[in-house]
Symmetry: D2
Subunit: 398 residues, 4 copies
């Protein structure tokens, strides 16, 4: 059983606490920290947490606490991590780890020096669908990974601080691109080095100083490309979809708007629909168990089981550092309007480009380009003559 | 914390135990009973259960045990329940409660006389989607409920005993109709009396003595109709869908084959796809967290929280008894080829038919039948003259 | 090229005329008949039809006309058909053919005696998806057909006469059940005799004299069951779905609300969404080419090509007669509350029950009941011993 | 009625001819040209075309011909267009118009100088779903367009020439990017100038000299971004999806793999499934009326109606020229690894950047950033103080 200090009383703190307390759990949040007294008090009451405080040090250093969970605005992560490391407490930090790679590296080094357990709370690699997908992909179900795509778009975040560069450190890239980038790494393989990125970002709609939309491509040493699409301008709810394609298959995941739960109501849904839902009449698309679908359940299980078992969790601060490094390259690319290298000072993955797969032989003289069933039922082969390079076509009866 | 004796080491016992042990749980299965020694031994090892036995009494009367969970073939439920009641242990019994209403009533009376906690393990009313749907429907999101529809079809059960009338007591109706019927009750409202049923059943494909397909209609006192469709002849995996329609809206749930998880693989999925999946190549439809999607997580949370809190769980033996009574009427209807009354000796719901809603007035002279936007953008009204009963049409500009 | 007299200027007349005039067609509607002058005049102008009249005889007997298309309220079909037959014109009649089997038979005999071409305008067996499905099913793609299901539900028809028993002859069964029944026949095979039906119907919501909801089952000589679900009480648009299951597969068709066209609009769709759509804000589900998706394009192509080629179209008056006969049995079943025989005076299909398929052998001693991949990757076989009838289980390594 | 010379006897020629002859059409292909005699002869027989030839001039100059349709490999389009223009025949050319902007401009000038009717056969802007979407978007249903996304991926083209740079002039960009780019223009508005592009392309899998995968972004003067994704490496069939997002809504179109037609077959579909389908067992996703779903029906209707009516069709050679110009910029970007300007020598759209919409006022002191319903039912407002730029949060009761 763990006694947890929760730093932060916003939506993320609530989702985290709900998850930690749910389903016959043996763990408890027992201290809640918020910068504002009223929020701390109210949330502690609502979520059945024993103590609350507006003093971060008190929350971290509580003698009963063995785990600090950070659910604060981005710019406060570093301070909280450094304090928890100093206090010798296990520390779990929400995404993004930091607002830039330099800070992330310092935080990584702090927890590693202190020898404390560290977990990076990237929930979206822990959704039940994503865990099964990663497993299948690693086992070869779709062959060599060629392309990943991750989208998170919605009508904008729920708390004011996200929209304020001073608190968030950035816009859609920092808020949601971090999810998409880590999903891409998990699918391509974390051992594969991200080489370079190109990124578009713009403030298309809102009166703010950060980007409200961004699209980026990450090129990996294996030749795979990771595509991400993020926006705070999307209307219709929260669109949370991932895809991965390989030489032998593909996986499509829809985490939010199309999960087999569809409702039409002429009079209103009479309550909360789902995070970022718009409206409560007409066709609605609720989500079953939100915290489970968002990965929180499996994430905290992995984190606390790893802590109990003396193991590394699936996502730790090194992952957070890599993501921050890729995001830094994205912002440079937005400014330079060109591909920019991913400058990883610390690389713990594999070295050396993965070999491109050899071509597929049809027979000794030909490579196979394509095989297809035609409308008339026959099979058409497209072949390349190895000697001449000439491309030829053969019809084989179905 | 509860110490649980699990009776049964088949697929259902495994799903139950996985669920009870999952996600930082404070409860444990500590005795496992199976009729065959090898199964008991292997399952105990695989699921990390301390003790095993082939003696049902030993499992039930274990001094550390405070909860008995029954995951045995249908015909053994009664014996196990009676023993657990006698031992004064809380008892949770899988579906169907019994193989007929008479036994079910005897079991209900046994646990009530003994004063032990009793839960009916009807997981499919506990799926996260269904819990939210029940909540919305009860709050009025779809108006007055008119129609429910529940389908469970797949290529047939996994254990031999299901196919053997001596162990199962029946076919698709007993195996899956029980789910569908309870889903219907939960959506229509358990306080509403089921009046009569009509049911078709046949052995369409398999060399067995029980029905492998059945379709039934339950008519409720409120005028609502509950439709169920069950089959062991379906090809393509497990089709688990529910719908409910009311005067103001509708809900469509897909629990299994279309949940936002789609995979194409040319080389095979390289592992388990999902319960009742067929094949592991081509387009596959895995399920995220199976035990959560099937309702086990929320079911055991409700059961054990209710036990701890001295409350009634959402599903108890009375519900199991009502379901058995409805199923008995279904079998009578199959034989008589006509509607048959639901003969509830013990009715704990509301008495007296719910009033039909009055008609909707358009103005003092007319009832409103229909309002529709036409292709040309205008609105067409269909009205009934109160005095004459004449039906008239009015075009109103859009 | 055909010159067509269109009888009826309602929605169905408009859809028919739009279809007949569309896409570089060589055919033309050149006379339009409506009972009310204003409607006739306006529709003729809107649809670019040369002549209009309020005199049915004039429309039918127009010397240039070679084809009469009937798109009138149900009770007027008979009069129009008899006149067209007398005039020696090809006649295409919308669904249902008549309001009862007796009239339908008289109409069939009239056109056959007169030797005129006759087509039954059952569009929903002609949707592009249904045509391909029928073709696949007939070729054996899903094995022996066991079960069909057809649903048409929406918030009620667009014209007043549907709601008035005097004009329509019935409610949801006559209006939409006729579609579902013919779809079932097309999938089971029109040569297979429908034996008996059981049907529930009720007036659940509206101030009318006919049923606004009905569910029925048709049992065929082959053992297949055809299920239909119809309602004028459904909220959320028009739900138009069909399914067919067989021993080797299944097909699921969605014709309307989920066809790969999804729109969210916060400000309104700014125009017509789709037939029977409700509301124009929030999530909407328009349909691509409505008349094509509803089968009108392929239906008229088949009808007029058959007429040109001296062939029988896919749907003719005999089909309409069978459908009316089945509907008559449905109404009798609603009244008697039991299965009722389908009383076909005239049966042109196959005689003698189709044989049930033999059971599948696993080896000489056993029938195969079931084969399934378990979560641990192994394969479980369920077998029946031929000699003893005992059901046994075998685990085979994956 | 038109008499058409069809140049090309491959899959595209077949789809075009099928469409032109379908559904009671009054138009006919009466000459078929192919470079190889056997193909010409066989296709003419199969498609019921009166004459065939291997002489392009003969096909174009046939005295009965008034329309030349070009369905040839990309590098032959220019020759065929110049000949048709010289012959004074109406000319409809398949996509892409040319293999580069310079040729496309020359072709445009040739048809304009000759005064012949010219149509650009970009079918995917003519799909029924896309036509309705364009109409809704133009009418304001989704507000100001911010982002479009178009994907065409499949396992590679059916004819050898596509894979051969000498015949195709390029890979996935030229083959499929042209569709995606024109879809983007149609949704953003053709009057809006495309300013610059960034593009990634690679040869990920095949033994060929052109790109088999490409992703690109087009930035428009209005601030909108058009994203395209093309690949010949996708496994699972043909993925044909489009999306458009605006300030007030979004539209999602799925043209191929998820259109409401789903089939499981254990024994094989017994025939053609759909263009680019892989395998014919397990879960399959056929398409209703392929030529209609792909836009051919509405495309030829628009083209020939425009020709008859002396109007411009929706897509003409100027559109083809703009698409080629954008693709040229894409290839430059792939080489330079940076954003590249779209160099339109000839711009016929609007001049001057569209104004960015002003910000939304909440009250005199504040801009509105966001309004959201929270899990507790309250409404949270995020506002920006106009004077200070400070971002603040207000909770309003639901």
């Amino acid at each position: 059983m763990h006694k947890i200090s929760m730093l932060g009383a916003g939506l993320i703190g609530m989702f985290y606490t709900q998850t930690l307390h749910a389903n016959r759990s043996r763990d408890r949040v027992h201290v809640l920290y918020s910068r504002t007294e009223q929020k701390a008090k109210e949330a502690a009451a609502a979520w059945d947490v024993e103590k609350w405080t507006t003093d971060m040090d008190e929350a971290i250093n509580d003698p009963d606490t063995d785990v600090v969970v950070i659910g604060l605005p981005n710019v406060l992560h570093k301070e909280a991590v450094l304090k928890a490391a100093k206090a010798g407490k296990a520390v779990l930090c929400t995404k993004p780890l930091a607002t830039n790679a330099e800070d992330a590296l310092e935080m990584l080094q702090a927890v590693e020096s202190a020898g404390v357990f560290h977990g990076y709370l990237e929930d979206l690699t822990y959704t039940p669908k994503m865990l099964k997908t990663i497993d299948s992909v690693r086992k070869g179900a779709i062959g060599k990974v060629l392309w990943t795509r991750s989208r998170e778009t919605h009508p904008g975040p729920h708390s004011a601080w996200f929209w304020d560069k001073g608190s968030s450190g950035g816009g859609a890239i920092v808020d949601m691109g971090c999810h998409c980038i880590e999903i891409s790494r998990a699918l391509v393989g974390k051992e594969v080095r991200p080489l370079e990125v190109v990124c578009w970002a713009d403030t298309q709609v809102h009166p703010i100083d950060v980007e409200d939309s961004a699209i980026g491509l990450i090129r990996y040493e294996s030749g795979a490309v990771g595509q991400f699409e993020t926006s705070w301008c999307f209307r219709g709810g929260m669109d949370l979809r991932d895809e991965v394609s390989g030489t032998e298959g593909t996986v499509w995941l829809n985490h939010w708007l199309r999960t087999g739960f569809e409702m039409f109501t002429n009079v209103g849904q009479q309550g909360y629909v789902a995070e970022k839902a718009e409206g409560d009449k007409g066709w609605l698309f609720p989500v079953g168990d939100e915290v489970a679908e968002l990965g929180y359940v499996h994430m905290f299980t992995d984190m606390l089981d790893a802590l109990d078992g003396g193991k590394k969790p699936m996502e730790d601060f090194y992952d957070g550092y890599v993501v921050n490094t890729i995001m830094d390259a994205c912002y440079r690319s937005v400014a330079s309007k060109r591909w920019e290298p991913v400058e990883l000072e610390l690389w713990r993955g594999a070295e050396g480009a993965e070999e491109k797969g050899g071509f597929v032989d049809y027979d000794q003289q030909h490579y196979l380009i394509k095989e297809e069933t035609m409308p008339d039922g026959k099979t058409k082969l497209i072949l390349k003559e190895k000697s001449s390079g000439r491309i030829v076509e053969r019809i084989v009866s179905g």
